[in-house]
C-alpha cells in the first residue's frame, strides 16, 4: 500500500467529494469502496474572500466557518483529508488557499492545483512550481497536480514535493489515460516516487490501466459522483484497482507481435 510523506495509507483509491447527489450518497461511496483519502476544496466566501470552485478530480467545496456542517460530514467519513486548491489560477491564490485549508482542516497536506488554461483546465507548470517551492518551504506536504512532463516532475521533486499527481486526461473528461507512453516514461524515470493518477478517469478500467503501469494510487471524483449510482461506481473503481495492482505485481508478460501457441504440441495420436 502507498506511503505518502511517511504516512501509510490503507487504500489505493482517493475520492473527491464534489458533485454527489447528496452527502449521504458521498458517504456510501466511501463505505462501499474503502477509499482511504478524501479530497476537499475550499470555497472562500465564508472566510470573507473571493470564491474558489471547480477542480480536478478534486473535492467538494467547504466554505470557512459556515461550511462547518460539510466539514463534519467529511470528518465523519473517518478517512484522511487532502484539501486542495481547486480553481486557483495563480501561485499567489493557491498559496493563500493552502494556508486557509491548513487552518480549517488541521493538516499540512495540500493537493496543489494551479490552473493555466480555463478551457482545458491544464496545470500551469510555472505557477505550480512557484507555489510548490513556497509551500514546501513553509512546511506543507505538497501533492502537485501536474502533467506527465518528466522535466517538470524533476523540478517539483527538487522543490520539495515527495509525491506527484500526474493527470490521466483533462479534468472531468473521463477519457482515461490520454498519453500512456508519457505516463510510462514518467513512472520509469522516478521509480521510487509515489505517484497518483489524478483527473480524467471515467471508467474502472482506466484505473486498472493506471495500476498496471505501476502507479501507486488514483484519485477520482466526477466519474463516481456523476454516475447514476455513485456508491456502485466507487466500488467498481476499488475492484479495478485491486485487479490492476495484482496484474502489475504479478510481472505481466511482454506483448509480442507474433502469435505463439499456448498449448504444447506433444505429437499426434495415431488412430488405427
Amino acid at each position: 500500500m502507498p506511503d505518502f510523506y511517511g504516512t501509510h495509507v490503507g487504500s489505493r483509491l482517493m475520492l473527491g467529494t464534489a458533485q454527489y447527489p447528496s452527502p449521504a450518497s458521498l458517504a456510501q461511496a466511501f463505505r462501499r469502496s474503502g477509499a482511504g483519502i478524501a479530497t476537499v476544496s475550499l470555497r472562500r466566501e465564508a472566510a470573507g474572500g473571493g470564491a474558489a470552485g471547480g477542480g480536478a478530480a478534486g473535492g467538494g467545496p467547504a466554505g470557512g466557518g459556515a461550511g462547518q456542517a460539510f466539514r463534519e460530514i467529511i470528518r465523519a467519513l473517518g478517512v484522511r483529508v487532502l484539501p486542495n486548491t481547486a480553481g486557483c489560477h495563480s501561485a499567489r491564490e493557491a498559496v493563500t488557499t493552502a494556508h486557509m485549508a491548513r487552518e480549517l482542516f488541521g493538516t499540512d497536506w495540500i493537493k496543489l492545483e494551479v490552473i493555466g488554461h480555463a478551457g482545458t483546465l491544464q496545470p500551469d507548470p510555472f505557477g505550480l512550481l512557484e507555489a510548490a517551492r513556497i509551500l514546501a518551504a513553509d512546511g506543507f506536504k505538497v501533492f502537485p497536480y501536474t502533467t506527465e512532463d518528466g522535466v517538470l516532475a524533476a523540478r517539483l521533486l527538487e522543490a520539495g514535493c515527495e509525491v506527484l499527481m500526474p493527470w490521466g486526461a483533462p479534468i472531468g473528461t473521463g477519457l482515461g489515460l490520454n498519453n500512456p507512453y508519457g505516463l510510462r516514461s514518467l513512472r520509469a524515470q522516478f521509480p521510487g516516487v509515489p505517484m497518483v493518477i489524478d483527473a480524467g478517469l471515467g471508467l474502472p478500467s482506466h484505473a486498472a490501466h493506471a495500476m498496471e503501469l505501476g502507479f501507486d494510487a488514483v484519485l477520482v471524483n466526477t466519474a463516481v459522483a456523476k454516475a447514476g449510482d455513485p456508491p456502485a461506481m466507487a466500488e467498481g473503481f476499488a475492484r479495478a484497482i485491486e485487479a490492476g495492482r495484482l496484474g502489475f505485481e504479478a510481472d505481466p508478460m511482454p506483448p509480442r507481435d507474433m502469435a505463439a501457441p499456448s498449448t504444447p504440441v506433444l505429437g499426434m495420436g495415431l488412430l488405427a
Binding site: 466566501e45 470557512g64 460539510f70
Partner: protein, 332 residues
C-alpha cells in the same frame, strides 16, 4: 381538535402548512419574528420551478413522486401557475449530457430542431435537439407567497411577529423555521445558492430552460414582463452573504451562451441565501412532544412544501403517520 396550532416560520413551508390546516378547518396562528415572507428567508430567492421529473436526475424517488402534488396544490391555493413544461438543452460539445439526462429521468420527449423551434422560436437553429418535459410547470415564488398570505388573511390568519407568553404551551407547534431550526436539528446543514434576475425584453423564452453543462449548469425561469430568473449555484456552506463575482460570472456566461439576446439584459437583482438540507437532501417530519418539525426541503421548497403540508395536516388532524417521518417522540 380545537386547540390552536402555532406555526413557526412564514417561509414557503410555514405558509403552505398554515394554508392546508386552515383549509381543513383547524385554528392556526402563524408566527415569524421577521414578519411576512421577504428577503430574509430563502423562499424569497427560489426559482419556482415545479419540475419533479427533471429533479429526478439527481434527487431520490420521493422528490419525483411527492413533487407531482405541487402544481395542482398551488393552483388551488390561488397562485398563478404556468403549465408550459420544461426544456433541457446542452451546448454543442456537451450534447451527450442530454442523453445522460434523458436516461435518468422520466416524463420527457426528445425534440428535434424543428420541434424546439415550434416551442421556443428564439432558440431556433441553435440546438439540434432538446428534451421537453410537458408535465412540468413554474410559478413566481414571491407572487405565490403573497397569494398564500392573502388567502390566510381572508380567513383571519395574519403573520404575528411575537408569540405571546400566555399561548406558548397552549397546543401543538409546527416548526417550519428552515435553517434557523438547526438549533433543534443537529443534522441540518445549509447549502448556499446564488441567483440573478435580469430584464431582457428581447428574450422570448416561455418556459423554464435548463442548460446542462459539466461545470456550470444553469436554469432560467421566465417571470413575465421580460424578466428572467437565473439560478443557481449549489455550494456546501451556510454562508448567506452576497453573491460572489465568480458565481455571477458563471450564471451570466451560461445564460449568454444559451441565448446571446441576454447580452443586452439589465441586471435587476443578485441574490444569495442558504437552504436547509439533511444529509440525503430529502425532507423530514419529526415529532417531539407537542412539536412537529418540518424541514430539509433543500432546493425543493416550492416543489415539496405542498406534499409536506398535506402530510403535516394528516398527522396533526388525523393521526396519520407521514412517510417522511423518521423520528416520533410525540404525545398530544
Amino acid at each position: 381538535m380545537t386547540r390552536r396550532i402555532a406555526i413557526l416560520g412564514a417561509g414557503v413551508m410555514g405558509l403552505c402548512a398554515a394554508t392546508e390546516l386552515t383549509r381543513r378547518g383547524a385554528p392556526v396562528r402563524l408566527i415569524d419574528p421577521a414578519g411576512a415572507a421577504g428577503p430574509h428567508g430563502c423562499s424569497w430567492w427560489a426559482g419556482g420551478m415545479l419540475a419533479p421529473f427533471c429533479e429526478g436526475e439527481t434527487a431520490e424517488p420521493p422528490v419525483v413522486r411527492l413533487g407531482q402534488e405541487a402544481a395542482p396544490w398551488w393552483e388551488r391555493a390561488g397562485a398563478s401557475v404556468t403549465r408550459a413544461g420544461t426544456l433541457v438543452l446542452a451546448l454543442g460539445r456537451d450534447r451527450s449530457e442530454v442523453d445522460r439526462f434523458a436516461r435518468r429521468t422520466a416524463g420527457h420527449r426528445m425534440l428535434d430542431a424543428e420541434g424546439l423551434a415550434g416551442l421556443e422560436p428564439g432558440l431556433a437553429g441553435r440546438f439540434a435537439r432538446a428534451l421537453h418535459f410537458p408535465g412540468e410547470a413554474h410559478l413566481d415564488p414571491r407572487a405565490a407567497l403573497a397569494a398564500l398570505q392573502r388567502g390566510l388573511s381572508a380567513r383571519g390568519v395574519e403573520v404575528e411577529t411575537a408569540r405571546g407568553a400566555a399561548d406558548a404551551t397552549a397546543g401543538i407547534t409546527i416548526d417550519c423555521r428552515g435553517l434557523a431550526a438547526a438549533d433543534a436539528l443537529p443534522d441540518l446543514r445549509g447549502v448556499r445558492g446564488e441567483m440573478a434576475v435580469l430584464r431582457a425584453p428581447e428574450v422570448t423564452l416561455a418556459r423554464p430552460v435548463r442548460l446542462l453543462h459539466p461545470r456550470q449548469p444553469l436554469y432560467i425561469v421566465p417571470r413575465g414582463d421580460g424578466r428572467f430568473m437565473l439560478g443557481a449555484t449549489q455550494i456546501e456552506t451556510a454562508h448567506r452573504g452576497p453573491a460572489t463575482a465568480r458565481s455571477v460570472l458563471e450564471l451570466l456566461g451560461a445564460a449568454y451562451a444559451l441565448d446571446p439576446a441576454f447580452g443586452e439584459a439589465e441586471v435587476l437583482e443578485l441574490g444569495a441565501d442558504a437552504r436547509p438540507a439533511f444529509p440525503d437532501n430529502l425532507p423530514r417530519i419529526r415529532r417531539r412532544g407537542a412539536t412537529v418539525l418540518v424541514n430539509g426541503l433543500f432546493r425543493h421548497g416550492f416543489l415539496l412544501a405542498p406534499a409536506l403540508a398535506r402530510m403535516v395536516a394528516d398527522l396533526v388532524l388525523e393521526g396519520k403517520r407521514p412517510e417522511v417521518m423518521d423520528e416520533d417522540h410525540g404525545e398530544w
